[in-house]
């Protein structure tokens, strides 16, 4: 599904990603763990096409296509979804209007018919139940005045509506209490299937108790320094990132 080769990326003058190789097959869930500043969010941003980052070397192929050639909106239409670490507040645009516009853009790209207001309402109500989100959040401006937990639920709600095939979760667990974490993870797990893949980025092992990965990678200073099964996450939790950084030092 996704093939990353020798990916180098910069933010301003600084090189953040220094040669990432990563291959994620259909239906697989991969986790990326790593200390602050290791390049986790940069990787997420590069995948979604965040303009602040520049790819200087390497390639990303998604379903055989050159992902780096695509504008952010084209990536979304092709089935890529980034759950933001810091979802943006947009005053004056209702959540309802936004989600409907987004869903219809994606349905059109998939060759499906647009949904009308009534069908959209039915659909969104059903998905909101999964993430236990209060109805009134649909009539409010996007993320404006939402609590941290509500913002993250809103991200997962969008994911449930858009049904992407490749999902990147950028520290979706940050700022969530254990109950909210469970709800959010439940939403994510709803989408697991043989045709969908995920990259779950997290600082802590905790999230991976709920979204159980097939493969865990450890990112350090812009490179993947270790990969393993889900037990690697537990090992990291016990020994701390110092263990990896120490091991990878020349």
């Amino acid at each position: 599904m996704l093939e990353i080769k020798n990916l180098h990326a910069t933010a301003g003058d600084a090189e953040i990603l220094k040669g990432i190789d990563l291959s994620i097959g259909a239906g697989e869930v991969h986790a990326i763990m790593g200390p602050n500043g290791s390049g986790k969010s940069t990787l997420a941003g590069v995948l979604a096409g965040r303009p602040a980052f520049a790819v200087t070397e390497g390639s990303i192929r998604y379903k055989g296509e050159d992902l780096l050639e695509l504008e952010p909106e084209k990536r979304a239409l092709a089935g890529i979804f980034l759950a933001f670490q810091y979802p943006v507040e947009i005053p004056g645009v209702t959540n309802n209007y936004f989600l409907k516009a987004s869903l219809n853009a994606i349905r059109t790209a998939r060759g499906e018919e647009e949904v009308d207001a009534m069908d959209f309402l039915t659909l969104v109500k059903e998905k909101m139940k999964i993430v236990e989100m209060p109805q009134d959040l649909m009539g409010r401006s996007i993320n404006e005045g939402f609590s941290g937990g509500e913002k993250k639920r809103n991200e997962i709600l969008q994911m449930l509506l858009l049904e992407p095939s490749f999902m990147v979760l950028d520290e979706t667990d940050s700022g969530l209490d254990i109950d909210a974490l469970r709800v959010v993870a439940n939403g994510v797990n709803h989408l697991r299937g043989p045709e969908r893949s995920m990259l779950v980025i997290t600082h802590y092992q905790r999230l991976l108790d709920y979204i159980v990965p097939d493969v865990v990678h450890v990112l350090s200073e812009g490179r993947i320094v270790r990969s393993g099964g889900k037990e690697l996450a537990h090992e990291l939790e016990e020994k701390g990132y110092g263990w990896i950084e120490g091991a990878s030092a020349p």
Binding site: R50, A76, L77, L82, I90, G92, A101, S102, S141, L162
Partner: protein, 426 residues
Amino acid sequence: MSQVLEQGRDRFLALAARVPGGGALDALRAEGVAAFTAQGLPGTRLEEWRYTNVAPLAAIEWSDAAEHLSVARSALEAVASPVFACGLEVFVDGVHHAELDGTQRADQVQELADAATAPAALATLADAKRHPFVALNGALTRDGAAVSLDGDDQRAVHLVFAEASADVASHPRVVIETAPGARGTVIVDHVSLGLARHYSNAVIEVRVAENASLDVVVLQRTNDASFHTGHLAARVERNGRLRTHTLSLGGCFVRNDLEVTLAGEGAECVMNGLYLGTGDQLIDNHTWVDHAVPHGRSEELYKGVLGGRSKGVFRGRVMVRPDAQKTDARQSNPNLLLADGAEIDTKPQLEIYADDVKCSHGSTIGRLDPESLFYLRSRGIGVEAARLLLTRGFAAEVLNALPEPALAETLGAVFADRLERSGGVA
């Protein structure tokens, strides 16, 4: 005064000599001619006109309405939508067209040209001696409307000033009076029938009586070639409440003056404004709130969106006089610049002579937030649609405050359409 301004003044005065006399407006016209002769057209050396050069307006040879045009009702409804049929009064090229009116409410709206006597408030609030365009309006006005609200009728009075003929200047006058405790909404709607260049110079005088509550919506959505100057002067008595909504969504040259005096204790005014500049447009808003007595409250929010090579001007004066203790005055002027060639000159100006008051003001100038843009795009929304959505979102606060939900919807569409057509979001 420069030659072009002098020439403009003389041409306007020549037109004034041709306005047919007789009726309730004679005194207003005589006063207007005298005041306009004395002042002429304002030059940029005057502080009030520093950023707005009226030379382009003065250079055009304007005429008065030539004939009574035949206008189809459907043509009017297409440009003045949504039409509030009850209390609808239509003026074309400054002259009343009774055949286009809606079902009038008795005694609530009266054409000034037909009035036996001038309404009591006429020329008591808008000062012709201080404002050249108020003087010009007085000198050249042919008609307008007197609105008196005495009950609790929630239906809006809709005054449409449509301009149709090329190079016609019209000078409509509106007087709105409320009885104590009355409630109502008056919409003053400036529109174009067609694409011909025209000029409208409106004066609106508003008296809000004790405990009355009034919304005045001033819409300016004329064609891209049109000129507009508008002056609204209001006085709010004890515990009265005035909300003004000034929306500039058209034209090439627009200047709005708004003057509100909070004359009675506990009086309140909310001033909302929205302006959208496209192409080479100039939009200037000058506002002035006079807190004359204690316990007044004023809240002002003017939002500007400027694209292309358009230029915006905002000057918001708030005066708190020595007696006006416990005043609560807030002012905000956020601006969104959509293009490198666009410009805004914004100047909040607080003059506070009382010590126990709460006053705040702020102007901001910004661009579309790149992170918000990326967020929308990452959800499959194209870059142009995303920019449009964000810009409309910026304007929503003012649109949503309009007294009639149907207005917010229609004007939101007018706003988006104008923005899209101008390529302002591309």
